[in-house]
């Protein structure tokens, strides 16, 4: 079981405020979200999902939480431990775009500040350098590779300033 991520570990003894209309409306606007009611809980998504045996809340459970309008879904480990492998989406007999929905949930969770710390580090790297890694020049020299083509970081910073990447989280 994943210990490191996700506040909601189990449904045991939990009380949820069901049918939060606002939340249901929000998630049904996500890409794929219009099909939430088509889910008949066959759990085929979870059967093929490679993290099913590693998470506390599986993907078919996540789908039902969405339909019931449980905001706590953003606290499940499934949201951030989804590898975006699209296996569930390809196998869902109802053709629900499950992985796309999870991407949308990650966007919602991020705005609320529910994001593993490593992601926030990557965000800074993209803003600062336009890339996630710095070159190791000696190695490229050894292979007689030319320098990596130039990037004007001022340009990527400007456009990231415009999209607001660095202040997307509530309160930032």
């Amino acid at each position: 079981m994943a210990e490191n991520w996700g506040q909601l570990k189990s449904f045991e003894g939990k009380k949820f405020e069901a049918l939060d209309a606002e939340f249901t409306k929000e998630v049904s606007k996500l890409i794929g979200g219009q099909d939430l009611t088509a889910c008949f809980q066959c759990a085929k998504c979870s059967a093929g999902c490679p993290v099913s045996d590693k998470v506390n809340i599986q993907v078919h459970e996540l789908m039902r939480m969405l339909l019931f309008g449980f905001r706590e879904v953003l606290d499940t480990d499934m949201v951030w431990l989804c590898t975006t492998c699209y296996q569930c989406q390809q196998r869902c007999p109802q053709g629900i775009e499950i992985t796309d929905i999870i991407f949308g949930l990650k966007n919602m969770a991020f705005r609320k500040g529910i994001t593993p710390p490593g992601y926030v580090t990557s965000r800074k790297a993209l803003y600062d350098n336009g890339k996630l890694y710095e070159p190791t020049d000696w190695e490229r020299d050894d292979l007689a590779l030319p320098p990596v083509p130039h990037l004007d970081v001022a340009e990527t910073r400007k456009v990231l300033g415009k999209t607001g990447l660095m202040r997307l989280q509530e309160g930032e």
Binding site: T84, N107, G130, L132, T136, L160, K162
Partner: protein, 311 residues
């Protein structure tokens, strides 16, 4: 003679900065095949789909579209050897062509830096070029050193072919294209049960929870061992390669289990099969070797004679 095909070479972050051997091998192979790779001046991170797609779709699409506009200005398609870069560039290109609302939002952002997404180019993966443009038959004709007797397990990864209905590349539940390309090398394909599961790094789960992500990687290795083992694992993605390569060192540290698989990008496999020496593109520079102070298992890879000569 028809004109040589030319592609903007989108390097991404991992290939040039962590595994330049892949970049070098690709340049050798594409040159052998008569295909021009053009530098993409001004390219940034794709941006990593698992990370930046998770923050905000419009930001993700804007940064990807900025990269696309560089190729649009030059009028050539893009090719990339990374499933992650492919996911960001191909998906955004596809979505921006279909979704007018997204396109308007992205172009509003790009206007500030004097750019505009027009939707005039295509994004390819090396696999598309090798399979659809060159053709596996012609790839085979360039093989001068078949890797006969080498047992090869494949890790196709996810984002070149999934989601199937959108990508329309291969039957991603029973894929064959990547296998056909790798088999031109003469190595023997070894099937294993978990061939199609994620490497463990996808969606940046590597970033969210390293232990969970290594759990997958270990599952893959065990599945290969159960199928009789393999001498090499081949993948079309440097992020998968990083996970499978350095993952062995991390698994040993975290779980105390030792695996010794040589991992190659498909470009490196083909460079060897095309007769290039491992030293020519730096195969021995892979991170697991420098971290463990080891080198590729030359004998198992049938490259023994050369290894001695260069020792």
């Amino acid at each position: 003679m028809s004109k040589r095909p030319a592609y903007y070479h989108f390097l991404g972050c991992i290939i040039p900065h962590r595994y330049p051997s892949i970049e070098k091998a690709t340049k050798l192979v594409f040159n052998d095949l008569g295909i021009d790779l053009l530098d993409m001046v001004g390219a940034s991170c794709c941006p990593a789909p698992g990370v930046f797609g998770s923050f905000d779709r419009v930001t993700w699409a804007t940064i990807a579209a900025r990269n696309l506009t560089i190729a649009e200005q030059g009028g050539h398609p893009i090719t990339t050897g990374c499933n992650g870069c492919f996911a960001s560039l191909w998906d955004s290109n596809h979505e921006l062509k279909e979704d007018e609302e997204l396109r308007a939002a992205v172009n509003r952002n790009l206007a500030d830096i004097g750019r505009e997404f027009k939707g005039t180019i295509e994004v390819t993966h090396y696999l598309d070029v090798l399979h659809d443009v060159v053709g596996t038959q012609k790839v085979k004709e360039h093989v001068t050193r078949p890797l006969n007797g080498v047992r090869m397990a494949l890790h196709p990864g996810c984002h070149w072919m999934r989601p199937k209905l959108v990508k329309k590349k291969d039957d991603s539940e029973r894929p064959h294209i990547f296998r056909e390309i790798c088999e031109t090398s003469g190595a023997k394909y070894v099937h294993y049960k978990d061939e199609l599961i994620c490497c463990g790094a996808g969606g940046a789960v590597r970033t969210a929870d390293l232990k969970t992500s290594l759990d997958f990687t270990k599952q893959k290795f065990d599945s290969i061992a159960a199928a009789g083992g393999a001498d090499v694992i081949v993948t079309p993605c440097p992020f998968c390669l990083l996970q499978l390569d350095t993952g062995q060192v991390e698994i040993q540290k975290l779980f105390g289990v030792e695996y010794k698989f040589d991992i190659m990008h498909v470009s490196e496999l083909l460079a060897l099969a095309f007769g290039h020496e491992p030293d020519e593109f730096g195969l021995a520079n892979h991170l697991q070797y420098s971290q463990r102070k080891t080198e590729p298992n030359w004998e198992r890879l049938n490259l023994r004679a050369k290894a001695k000569a260069t020792a």
